[in-house]
């Protein structure tokens, strides 16, 4: 019961953080608030018992994410161009979509309920079968690496491909890159 209250408080803090990120026009300050967002979401994952996800969030958020953001900031300007004008067409698109999404909540099984489709056969199968078939204590690892081995292969390939993509964009020396930007600006 108490965990649910903690969840609600953390979600509330997450909302405040995301609104604050949205309101910043200084991209530097927004980057720092993103760091707070990452810390908060790691805490939320811990509360939801998703230890492995929380671990990933902790490692990526503290070690890499902020540094990549800063690397991006190094090659662009710090200040965001603020558009004060409210776009009517965008608003017309966003509000009905939001209402549709909220309406869609009714079809989703309630949070943590025992009769969710995912918990009726699949989780049961993994939990009972894993210790016999795989024989390692951490269920998440056995699902990721063995039952869903093809998925994980796909993920690794995605990381590798993304890395190649970044290299193709940024791999040439900064001198060439700066040259292009300067010419465009002048």
């Amino acid at each position: 019961m108490i965990v649910i209250y903690i969840n609600i408080i953390i979600l509330f803090l997450l909302i405040i953080t995301s609104i604050a990120i949205n309101q910043q026009d200084n991209l530097f300050a927004a980057t720092m608030l993103t760091g707070i967002f990452s810390l908060l979401s790691a805490s939320l994952f811990v509360c939801l018992d998703a230890v492995d996800v929380a671990f990933t969030e902790a490692a990526v958020g503290a070690g890499i994410a902020l540094i990549l953001f800063l690397g991006t900031l190094a090659s662009i300007k710090y200040k965001e161009k603020v558009k004060n004008k409210v776009s009517v067409s965008g608003l017309l698109l966003v509000i009905p979509t939001g209402f549709l999404l909220i309406y869609g909540i009714h079809d989703i099984p309630s949070f943590g309920a025992l009769d969710n489709p995912v918990q009726t056969y699949l989780a049961d199968r993994y939990i009972t079968g894993s210790s016999k078939e795989i024989g390692i204590p951490n269920l998440v690892t056995s699902v990721l690496a063995s039952y869903r081995g093809h998925d994980t292969l796909g993920e690794v390939t995605v990381i590798f491909t993304a890395c190649i993509g970044v290299l193709m964009l940024l791999g040439r020396s900064r001198g060439d890159y700066r040259g292009i930007v300067d010419k465009e600006e002048s």
Binding site: D52, I64, T72, E133, G149, L153, V156, L167
Partner: protein
């Protein structure tokens, strides 16, 4: 930042510890939280700390970028290789049961090797990204 005395001394102490912690996460994925992806990121972040404090030039002399690129591909190949071994032994792709005499040992070996592949790829990818973003 190398003649920032406090930072350079603390970095000298803490970098090996981060690396060892990364390897601990890599090899204990079977027992606790963690696994290849997290381990790769933590391991790479020790290199990134080194690059931030002692300069990218020095990091380049420690880890050759070309070798890191090869390692990123090697991790994926290691993963696929385990799958192909399953085919060669007469089963399906990524069937770990055939890797050893008993299926349980086979599963254990298979999971450990593919986690290692994931870890190598992720660590190298993160170091490559750092190199790409922090050009001299």
């Amino acid at each position: 930042m190398e003649h920032h005395l406090v930072l350079s001394v603390v970095a000298r102490i803490i970098i090996p510890l981060i690396m060892l912690f990364g390897l601990y996460v890599q090899f204990h994925g079977d027992y606790g939280p963690g696994g290849g992806f997290q381990a790769g990121v933590i391991f790479a972040s020790s290199f990134i700390l080194y690059g931030i404090i002692f300069g990218v030039k020095k990091l380049r002399s420690v880890v050759n970028p070309t070798i890191v690129r090869c390692l990123a591909a090697f991790g994926v190949l290691l993963y696929i290789g385990v799958g192909v071994v399953g085919i060669l032994k007469g089963g399906e792709f990524l069937n770990y049961n055939l890797l050893s005499k008993t299926s349980e040992v086979g599963q254990h070996i298979g999971i450990m090797i593919i986690e290692l592949g994931v870890g190598i790829t992720v660590a190298s990818a993160m170091i490559i990204l750092f190199f790409a973003f922090a050009k001299p």
